[in-house]
C-alpha cells in the first residue's frame, strides 16, 4: 500500500463517524477500526522490504517553490512508530467503545481520535520537514479537541488550553528551527537533510536551529520545564490519555529527536542540552509521581519520567543509547497503555481514581488486578518483563557516561530515578489493589466485560512475551528502527539475562529501597507536603494572565471598541507607511503631459467639489446627505464617461440608483438627523486626519497619473487578444467574462453571499423581540396619503417591458459594445424595483414567481457550468468558444460561451440586488401596513438624550 494512502486512511476514517453515528456507536467504532486496521495491514505489507534495508517513498508535488512537497517515507523508525500508533489506536478504539457512557457524543470522539491518529501517522511518515510541520500542528489541534472532549468539565477545558498553548508555542519555535535546518541543508526533504550532517553541524545556525527544534520536541514530549501540561491533560477521558500519553502525542517529540538524530546528535551541545534535560526530567517526574494520589496523575508523572529517560538515552548520542531508546519506546507504549486502561477500568467500575478511596480491589477485580500488576511491575523494571530489559540497558549506558568531568553523576541520578520508579509503580499496585477490602467505594467494583479487558490483556501478554523472548518479539523492529535512527547498521543484542553486573545490582537495590519507600510512604508524604515547591499551573496562569493584560493594553490603545479610533489608527498607519515608502523608495520622472481641461470637465469638477463640501457641511440632515451622495455618484459616472470608461459609467449609475433606494428604505426607520455630539476639538482632530489622508491619497493619485508605467503593462495582451481569443470587441467585458473570468466568478459568489447574509439578518429581525418592536413601530414622519399614486403605477407598468428590453439589449451587446451582465442585471433589477415602489410590496410579491435565492444560485451554477464546460474539450477552466449567426430579420449576431457566463453574472446580480432590497422592504412591510396613520408622538429615539 502506498505510504500516502496509509497516511490518508485515518483521515478518511475521521469522516465516517459523522456519517454513521446515527446507526449507533458500534457502527461508528467498527468503521474507524476498519480504517485503522486497513492502514495497519497496508503498513505491515512493507515489513519484509524494510527488513531488507529498503526505504519506501512516495512523492507528490505540492508547493515546489517553497520546498513543500507531500512526500512520504517508510523506514525502520517510521515503521516502529506507525505500528505503535495504528496498533494501539485499534485497541483504543475498542476500549473507548465500552468506556464512554451513553451520554457522551461518541461520533465526535471517534472523529477527533481518527483525526489525531492521521496527524500522528502523517508526522512519522513524512519525508519533508515542512509537510511534517503541517501534521505536527494538526496533532496539537486535534489533541486539544480530545483533551477538552468533556466540555462541561472546567479542568478539561483548562487542560486542553494549557496543552495547546505549550505545544503550540513549541510548534511555532520548531517551524523556525526547521526553516533554518532546511536552509542549511538546501532542501526540506528529510532524506536530503540526513545526508548533510557535516554542513549542518558546521553551520553557525546549528545552535539556534537545534534550540528551536528542541523547544518543539521538549514541549511536545513534556520535558522539564514544560512537563506541567501533561498532568493537566489527564482531565481527558482515559482512552485519550492512554492513547496520547502512552504511544503517540508525547512520543512525537521523541520521534523527531530520533528522526534528526543522525544530523543533530553527537555534538557537545546536543549531549548537554538533551541528555541533561532528559535526566533531570526523569528524576523529577519519578519523584513527583510517588506523591500523587490520583491514579492518572501517577501515570502522568511517570510518563514524564519515562519520556525523560528516552530523551536522555537519545541525548547520549551513542549507538547503544539509540538502541535502548527505541526499545524502551516500544516497552513504554505497551505497559503504559495497559496501565492507563487499568486506571480507566478502576475509575469506571469503582467510581474513583483516588488512592485515598481505593485499595483492596484484589479480590473484587482479579483480572484487572493481574493486568495492572504485571504492567506496573514492568514499569518498575522487574524481571522477567520487558521494562526490565530496557531499564538495564539504560542503567548500563548511564553508569558509563561522564558528565562535565563527573564520572559517577549520571549513573547515580539515573539510579535514584530508577528507585523512585520502583516506588511509584509498587505504590500504584499497593494503593489500588492490595490492603483490606473497603465498604465505602463509590460504586460496587467488579471486573468489567471483555470489551474493556481485551485491549489491556493483549498489551500485557506482549509485555511478558517481549520480556521472555526479546529478540524474537521485538529484535527485528528494534534493529530496523535503530538502523534508521543511527543511519548505520546496528546489531542490538536484547537479552533478559546478562549475568550479575552493576545494572542488575542497582536494579536489585532499587527494588528493595523502592519497596521500603512504599512501606514508609506516610512519613515521606508528610515531608513532601511540608516542602515548598512551585505550582506550575499557578505560574502558567499568572504568565497567561499577564500576557492577556499586555495584549489587552496594546489592543485598547489601537482600537477600544470605538470605530473612530480604529479607523483613525488605520488611516494614520496607512499614510505613515505610504510616506515611508515614498521617502525611502525611488520614483521615476514625471513624463506625462497633463491633459487640457475642457469646460465640461471643469464644470463637472466644480460640481463635484461643491457637492463633496456640502456633504461634510450638511451631513447631519440625512435626507440631504442622501441627495448629495446621489449627485456625487452621478458626477463620478459622468467622469467615467469622459475618461473613456463607458462600462464603468453604466455600472456606476445603475448601482447609484440601487444604493440610494436601499438607503432610503433604511432611512425610513433610522433617525432623520445626526445630532451634534462631539466637541470642536474632536471634530478638528477628525478633520485633520481626514485632510491628511485626502492629501496623501490625492497626491499619490497625481504622482501616478503623471508618470508612465514603470514596467510594460499586461494590458496590451488583453487588447491584442480580446477579439482573437475572446471573440469580443469590448475588452472590459471580455476581460471580465474570459481573461479574468475566475475573478468575476468569485465576485458574483461574494455578491450572492452578501445578499444571503442580508436575508438571514432580516429573518432574525422578523422574529422575537425586534419583531415586536417593529409591529409597534411608530414612524417619526407622516406617511404619504396616497401610497400608490396612480400616475406612478401606470407609468412603471408601461415602462416595464421597455426597460426589460433595454436590459436584454444591454446584455446582448455587452460582448462588443458597452454593457454586459453586470449592467443588464442592475437595469432589470431597477425596473423590477420600480414595480415594488409604485404598486406596493404585496402586489409585486404576488406576481413574483421565481425566488431570488434560486436566481443567485442558478447564476453561480450557470457561470460555473460554463467554465467547467471547457474541460470537456480539454481546455482550461473558462476557455470560451464563439461563433456568429444570422437569423432572418435580424442583424448578424454573435453567440459565445462567454455569454452563458455573463448570463450567470446577470442572474446573480438580479437575484442579489432584489433579495437585498426585498429583505429591507419586508422589514418595512412589517410596520408599514399597521401604521398608516400619521405618528403623533415625537421621534422615538432620534434624540441622543433620550437614547441614553
Amino acid at each position: 500500500m502506498s505510504p500516502a494512502l496509509i497516511a490518508a486512511l485515518p483521515f478518511l476514517g475521521a469522516l465516517l463517524p459523522g456519517l454513521l453515528i446515527r446507526s449507533g456507536r458500534n457502527v461508528a467504532a467498527i468503521s474507524c477500526g476498519t480504517m485503522t486496521l486497513l492502514a495497519l495491514i497496508g503498513l505491515c505489507l512493507h515489513i519484509p522490504a524494510i527488513m531488507d534495508g529498503q526505504v519506501i517513498t512516495s512523492h507528490f508535488t505540492w508547493l515546489p517553490r517553497i520546498g513543500l512537497d507531500a512526500s512520504f517515507r517508510i523506514d525502520g523508525l517510521s515503521l516502529l512508530f506507525a505500528i505503535l500508533i495504528l496498533g494501539i489506536g485499534l485497541l483504543i478504539i475498542l476500549y473507548a467503545r465500552y468506556y464512554l457512557s451513553k451520554g457522551d457524543p461518541v461520533g465526535q470522539f471517534y472523529t477527533y481520535l481518527m483525526l489525531f491518529q492521521g496527524a500522528m501517522v502523517g508526522i512519522v511518515l513524512s519525508d519533508n520537514i515542512l509537510f511534517l510541520l503541517v501534521f505536527w500542528e494538526l496533532t496539537s489541534l486535534s489533541s486539544f479537541l480530545l483533551i477538552g472532549y468533556w466540555k462541561h468539565l472546567p479542568e478539561g477545558r483548562q487542560g486542553a488550553r494549557m496543552a495547546l498553548t505549550v505545544t503550540g508555542m513549541g510548534g511555532l519555535a520548531m517551524i523556525a528551527g526547521m526553516m533554518m535546518l532546511g536552509n542549511i541543508a538546501g532542501s526540506y526533504r528529510i532524506s536530503d537533510i540526513l545526508e548533510a550532517k557535516e554542513a549542518i553541524q558546521a553551520s553557525p545556525l546549528y545552535l539556534p536551529a537545534l534550540l528551536l527544534i528542541l523547544l518543539g520536541a521538549f514541549t511536545k514530549s513534556a520535558q522539564f520545564p514544560f512537563h506541567f501540561w501533561l498532568p493537566h491533560a489527564m482531565a481527558a477521558p482515559t482512552p485519550v490519555s492512554a492513547y496520547l500519553h502512552s504511544a503517540t502525542m508525547v512520543k512525537a517529540g521523541l520521534f523527531l529527536m530520533a528522526r534528526l538524530w543522525p544530523v543533530l546528535a553527537g555534538t557537545p551541545e546536543w549531549f548537554y542540552i538533551v541528555a541533561t534535560t532528559g535526566l533531570f526530567t526523569m528524576l523529577i517526574g519519578a519523584v513527583i509521581a510517588l506523591f500523587k494520589d490520583d491514579l492518572k496523575a501517577i501515570l502522568a508523572f511517570s510518563t514524564v519520567s519515562q519520556l525523560g529517560m528516552v530523551t536522555m538515552l537519545l541525548g547520549l548520542g551513542t549507538e547503544a543509547g539509540a538502541i535502548a531508546a527505541v526499545f524502551h519506546i516500544i516497552n513504554h507504549a505497551t505497559f503504559k497503555a495497559a496501565l492507563f486502561m487499568t486506571a480507566g477500568i478502576v475509575d469506571h467500575e469503582a467510581g474513583t481514581r483516588s488512592m485515598k478511596l481505593l485499595g483492596g480491589l484484589r479480590k473484587l477485580m482479579p483480572v484487572t488486578f493481574t493486568i495492572g500488576t504485571i504492567a506496573a511491575l514492568s514499569m518498575a523494571g522487574v524481571l522477567p518483563l520487558n521494562g526490565f530489559i530496557s531499564k538495564e540497558m539504560m542503567l548500563e549506558e548511564a553508569i558509563h557516561t561522564t558528565w562535565a568531568g563527573y564520572a559517577q553523576l549520571f549513573g547515580i541520578v539515573a539510579a535514584i530515578a530508577a528507585t523512585f520508579s520502583v516506588a511509584y509503580s509498587l505504590r500504584f499496585i499497593a494503593g489500588t489493589f492490595l490492603g483490606s477490602e473497603r465498604d465505602d467505594y463509590p460504586h460496587h467494583p467488579h471486573d468489567p466485560g471483555m470489551g474493556l479487558l481485551f485491549s489491556p490483556s493483549l498489551l500485557v501478554v506482549l509485555v511478558i512475551l517481549i520480556g521472555l523472548m526479546p529478540m524474537t518479539m521485538a529484535g527485528w523492529l528494534v534493529t530496523a528502527s535503530a538502523d534508521a535512527v543511527t543511519g548505520m547498521e546496528t546489531h542490538p543484542h536484547l537479552a533478559l539475562w546478562h549475568g550479575v553486573n552493576i545494572p542488575l545490582m542497582i536494579s536489585g537495590a532499587a527494588l528493595v529501597i523502592g519497596a521500603l519507600m512504599v512501606a514508609f510512604h506516610r512519613p515521606l508524604q508528610a515531608i513532601w507536603d511540608a516542602m515548598p515547591r512551585p505550582e506550575a499551573k499557578v505560574i502558567f496562569d499568572r504568565i497567561i494572565r499577564r500576557a492577556v493584560r499586555w495584549a489587552q493594553a496594546v489592543n485598547d490603545g489601537l482600537h477600544d471598541g470605538r470605530l473612530a479610533r480604529g479607523a483613525g489608527m488605520m488611516s494614520g498607519t496607512v499614510v505613515l507607511a505610504g510616506t515611508f515608502a515614498w521617502v525611502t523608495g525611488s520614483t521615476g520622472p514625471q513624463t506625462r503631459e497633463m491633459l487640457p481641461i475642457t469646460p465640461v470637465a471643469g464644470v463637472g469638477f466644480v460640481l463635484l467639489i461643491v457637492a463633496t463640501g456640502c456633504m461634510v457641511a450638511f451631513h447631519r440632515n440625512r435626507l440631504l446627505a442622501l441627495v448629495l451622495i446621489g449627485i456625487v455618484g452621478l458626477i463620478v459616472s459622468c467622469g467615467f464617461v469622459y475618461l473613456s470608461a463607458p462600462d464603468l459609467a453604466l455600472t456606476q449609475i445603475s448601482v447609484e440608483v440601487v444604493t440610494v433606494m436601499l438607503m432610503l428604505l433604511a432611512l425610513n426607520f433610522l433617525p432623520k438627523r445626526t445630532w451634534v455630539e462631539t466637541g470642536g476639538l474632536r471634530r478638528g482632530a477628525d478633520a485633520l486626519i481626514a485632510t491628511v489622508v485626502g492629501l496623501a491619497f490625492g497626491g499619490l493619485a497625481y504622482a501616478i497619473m503623471r508618470r508612465d508605467f514603470a514596467f510594460e503593462t499586461i494590458s496590451q495582451y488583453h487588447i491584442a487578444n480580446s477579439y482573437k481569443q475572446g471573440g469580443g470587441d469590448n475588452i472590459v467585458n471580455v476581460t471580465l467574462v474570459d481573461f479574468r473570468g475566475y475573478d468575476t466568478f468569485g465576485e458574483i459568489t461574494v455578491l450572492g453571499i452578501a445578499a444571503l447574509v442580508i436575508y438571514a439578518m432580516t429573518e432574525t429581525l422578523l422574529i422575537g423581540k425586534s419583531a415586536r418592536k417593529l409591529t409597534n413601530w411608530r414612524h417619526d414622519q407622516r406617511r404619504a396619503g396616497d401610497r400608490h399614486p396612480l400616475m406612478l403605477v401606470v407609468a412603471t407598468r408601461l415602462i416595464l417591458p421597455i426597460s426589460l428590453t433595454v436590459g436584454l439589449f444591454i446584455f446582448m451587446r455587452g460582448h462588443n459594445q458597452p454593457g454586459g451582465g453586470f449592467v443588464a442585471g442592475l437595469i432589470v433589477a431597477i425596473s423590477l424595483l420600480m414595480q415594488y415602489m409604485a404598486s406596493g410590496f404585496a402586489w409585486a410579491q404576488e406576481r413574483q414567481r421565481v425566488p431570488f435565492h434560486a436566481m443567485i444560485g442558478t447564476g453561480v451554477v450557470v457561470a460555473a457550468a460554463t467554465g467547467i464546460g471547457a474541460w470537456f474539450f480539454g481546455l482550461p477552466f473558462l476557455t470560451s468558444a464563439y461563433g456568429y449567426f444570422k437569423l432572418p430579420f435580424l442583424e448578424e449576431f454573435e453567440l459565445a460561451t462567454a455569454m452563458a457566463f455573463d448570463l450567470g453574472v446577470f442572474l446573480c446580480v438580479v437575484g442579489a440586488v432584489m433579495l437585498a432590497l426585498n429583505s429591507l422592504s419586508r422589514i418595512a412591510r412589517r410596520t408599514g401596513e399597521a401604521s398608516t396613520r400619521p405618528a403623533t408622538a415625537e421621534a422615538p429615539t432620534a434624540d441622543p438624550k433620550e437614547a441614553h
Binding site: 433604511a666 485626502g694 493619485a701
Partner: protein
C-alpha cells in the same frame, strides 16, 4: 486634468474619512460610500487618463495600443463597484438591525459588549 482628478480623489476620500469618524451609523455608511467613489476613481486612474479612447475595439482591432485606454483597471473596478454595493447593502442592514434591536444608532461598541467573551479564566 490630472490635477483636477487628483484633487477630486483627495476631496472625496477626505470627506469620506471625516464621515467614517462620526459616531452614528448613517454618516459612517455615507462616508464609506464616499470612500468607495474615491477608491474606484483612483483604481481607474492607475491606467492613466485618456479621453475618447474607450477600450472598445474598432473593426476587431488591429493592435494599435495607443488608440485604447488601459482596459484592465476598468474591468477590475467594474466588479469593485458591484461588490461595494453588496458591502454597502450589508452594512446598511447591519446598522438598521442594530438600531431596531439596540434602540440607538451609535456605532461604538459598548464596554460591556467588549469584555464579554474576552474572559480568559
Amino acid at each position: 486634468m490630472e490635477a483636477l482628478v487628483a484633487i477630486a480623489i483627495g476631496a472625496m476620500s477626505a470627506s469620506g474619512i471625516y464621515l467614517v469618524l462620526r459616531l452614528r451609523t448613517f454618516p459612517v455608511v455615507i462616508g464609506m460610500t464616499m470612500m468607495s467613489y474615491a477608491i474606484n476613481l483612483f483604481l481607474v486612474t492607475t491606467g492613466r487618463l485618456a479621453v475618447n479612447k474607450p477600450p472598445i475595439l474598432q473593426g476587431h482591432g488591429p493592435a494599435d495600443f495607443s488608440a485604447y485606454t488601459d482596459p484592465l483597471p476598468q474591468a477590475l473596478t467594474l466588479t469593485a463597484i458591484v461588490i461595494s454595493f453588496g458591502m454597502t447593502a450589508v452594512v446598511v442592514l447591519l446598522s438598521l438591525g442594530a438600531f431596531i434591536e439596540g434602540g440607538d444608532d451609535y456605532i461604538d461598541m459598548p464596554e460591556s459588549d467588549r469584555r464579554e467573551g474576552g474572559d480568559t479564566e
